[in-house]
Symmetry: C2
Subunit: 125 residues, 2 copies
């Protein structure tokens, strides 16, 4: 039987309020405001549970370990700042990507990541 816990709620809220995909350690830090003694193992356990419940999705950025964002979002991509490392959600897509696949190949999905400087890091040039 599944029970509620302050920790799981704190983890879910941290992901929901971020509006961008978070690393487990980012979730750990953010959720500690609502659940002070939160351990990193509990973060991983609940990320697994929230994925199984289709509440959160894994996001892979090339070269990075998995991040997590709310499920049930429209199709989108991500921008990774090469200065601060932060990831931003982009509600945009170039479209028509299946045409890029070679003859005989079947494209089912795609991942696009833009790299550069986020607004804050661009100002600080």
């Amino acid at each position: 039987m599944i029970r509620n816990s302050r920790q799981r709620n704190a983890i879910r809220d941290a992901i929901a309020q971020a509006g961008r995909p978070l690393l487990p350690q980012e979730i750990h830090q953010l959720a500690q405001q609502a659940a002070p003694r939160l351990g990193i193992a509990t973060v991983y356990r609940n990320l697994q549970a929230l994925q199984d419940a289709d509440e959160v999705n894994q996001v892979m950025i090339p070269g990075d370990s998995p991040r997590f964002e709310l499920a049930e979002q429209p199709h989108h991509h991500h921008f990774k700042c090469t200065a601060c490392g932060g990831v931003t959600t982009l509600y945009a897509c170039p479209g028509k990507l299946a045409e890029l696949a070679p003859e005989g190949y079947q494209m089912h999905s795609h991942e696009l990541t833009l790299y550069g400087h986020c607004e804050d890091c661009a100002k600080a040039h």
Copy 2:
């Protein structure tokens, strides 16, 4: 002083002939045909050296460890088969991606990965 070695040539040739990015262990296997006692440490050492010499580039596919391909190639992207795990080079790009970045952001580069079934795996459906 830098010397030539059968092993380094075998590693460089394996990457050049593949025409697609290879994992270190794939390079290890392929290059063993020309350098039978090749050790995996030598593969890593030479990949580092070849990168420093701008002869090969690292390619990151989301969720995977680094692959290596020849440098000095035209702009391109990759297709990853979700059945066999193989990666194919795609000499195509949707273009106009800087427009997708939010106001104030500066895009410098991008990564696109298509997922689906390669020709062989599509046939075997």
